[in-house]
Amino acid sequence: MRSNARNYYLIPYLAWIALFVVAPIALIVYYSFHDIEGGFTLDNYAKFFTPVYLKMALSSFWYALLITLFSLLVAYPTALILTRTKHKQLWLLLIILPSWVNLLLKAYAFIGLFGTYGLANALLETIGIGRKQILFTDFSFVFVAVYIFIPFMILPIFNSLEEMNKSLIHAARDLGASDWTTFRRVIFPLTLGGVKAGCQAVFIPALSLFMLTRLIAGNRVITLGTAIEQHFLVTMDWGMGATIAVFLVIIMALIMVVTGQGRGSIR
């Protein structure tokens, strides 16, 4: 077509893509084949398949899975209830509002909340359980991560619930389905797109968390993200860091392919 011949807009845009999308990926791959001295090597990949790194990758996966699962368990009922409230757009806005607060501040707040004399421990004491070490445990890490990711899980589920044809629910009821059957056989399958999108939006960032592992988990948990940060900024072994980054990108791409870029995932 006529306008296709002179699409000058493409020049700056393609320049941006080349410089900040293609080049960084290429550089990460390039560095993953080089050691600290800059010589070509496959050692980084060999090292990744040693028990140390595989164990780290597995535990990173495990935590991300837990975080995604708990987010889903909390988010789905919340989204479902939200769609049935009056002023649901306002409630939704209120759910999203905390996600606009700087991530670091929320993490910092939990240092106070979960501290030895913090609110959480004060509550435990009044119930009669007594003070516990909450901060710097696996529990606090998963809890805070779920807290941070929950709006990103609620939003796509809420949207898919809203898009669903409501008359299907009435139809199920009329045909004598119980609430639970209606949910299991009608509502949940129809909102699977939103669930997948939400899981994507939580699982991938959960794999790469590194700030929370330091502030909340007190370096007890090492995720792939923490390892990358460690290699790039502490030990300066960029090659190994890049190798882990390559694996993270591959895992991410795999997850995107497996969960499918269905209708829900575009938003």
């Binding site: 409630w91 700087n102 707040a109």
Partner: protein, 269 residues
């Protein structure tokens, strides 16, 4: 269970979710007024920590840096993003358009640690010194795709006969762009700008990688202070930031409200 009982249970559930969502923020705000100096054991009301924030020149410079970076990067990335959206819009072949969109989305779905690390390599390779410029460039780079995604739907909603009409009436390419296209897609441009602004203000991971030694943004500063333990001036600062966030959200909400009105008039719902 009767409907009323069910409703009260779901109300309770929602209440608990909201309580947990807002507890940390309120906790920070409440203790920013604590004269005790710790985040437990409320002793008395004080504005001491706010005074400390406003007398901390280093912190104020960092706040200023953060704002300058956010405004500059979102302005520049809005321009680039609009150009990008126009570029994608003009590509007629479905395949190339999809390819461009996929490339566009790479930075949105990539883990920020990977983005940070790869930008660090890139800047080191180019020889760009880490500091203000590197942070600015990184923020522009990761904000562009968001703007593209906000603007592109508006372009696709635009009635193409508007363009034909403008050309038939003798408008130049530039005239069509500034008099027809840009006004039509303005809601998308504003939304993109706001999203870029919040992404920039909120970013920690990417900035942390490319910030170098001398330069710092608020997120990075809070991180390094939080690692040293609790200090209530961070609480005071976060209260102020929370107020700014709410103001931004209200602004964004009002803009989207104004945007949705004409659209609703056009489409019968």
């Amino acid at each position: 269970m009767n409907p009323a009982g069910k409703r009260s249970w779901s109300g309770l559930y929602l209440f608990v979710v909201f309580a947990i969502l807002y507890a940390p923020i309120l906790y920070l705000v409440v203790y920013s007024f604590n004269s005790g100096g710790t985040m437990h054991g409320y002793e008395g009301f004080t504005l001491e920590w706010y005074g400390e924030v406003f007398s901390d020149v280093r912190l104020l410079i960092i706040v200023l840096n953060t704002l300058v970076i956010a405004l500059l990067s979102s302005a520049i990335s809005t321009v680039l993003g609009v150009i990008g959206a126009l570029a994608i819009y003009r590509v007629r072949r479905q395949q190339s358009r999809n390819a461009l969109l996929s490339l566009n989305n790479v930075l949105i779905v990539s883990p920020d640690v990977v983005i940070g690390a790869s930008f660090l390599i890139l800047f080191t390779m180019i020889g760009l010194q880490l500091g203000f410029i590197s942070v600015l460039v990184a923020h522009i780079a990761f904000s562009v795709p968001i703007v593209v995604l906000m603007v592109l739907p508006k372009l696709q909603e635009m009635n193409p006969s508007l363009l034909d009409a403008a050309r038939d009436l003798g408008a130049s390419g530039w005239g069509v762009l500034t008099k027809v296209v840009l006004p039509v897609i303005r809601p998308g441009i504003f939304a993109g700008f706001f999203m870029a602004l919040t992404y920039s203000l909120d970013d920690f991971a990417v900035t942390f990688f490319v910030t170098g030694n001398g330069f710092s943004t608020l997120s990075v500063e809070i991180y390094s202070r939080a690692r040293q333990g609790v200090s209530l001036s961070i609480n005071a600062l976060s209260t102020l930031l929370f107020l700014v966030t709410i103001a931004l959200v209200i602004g964004y909400y009002l803009i989207s409200l104004r945007n949705s009105r004409p659209a609703e008039g056009g489409q019968s719902r």
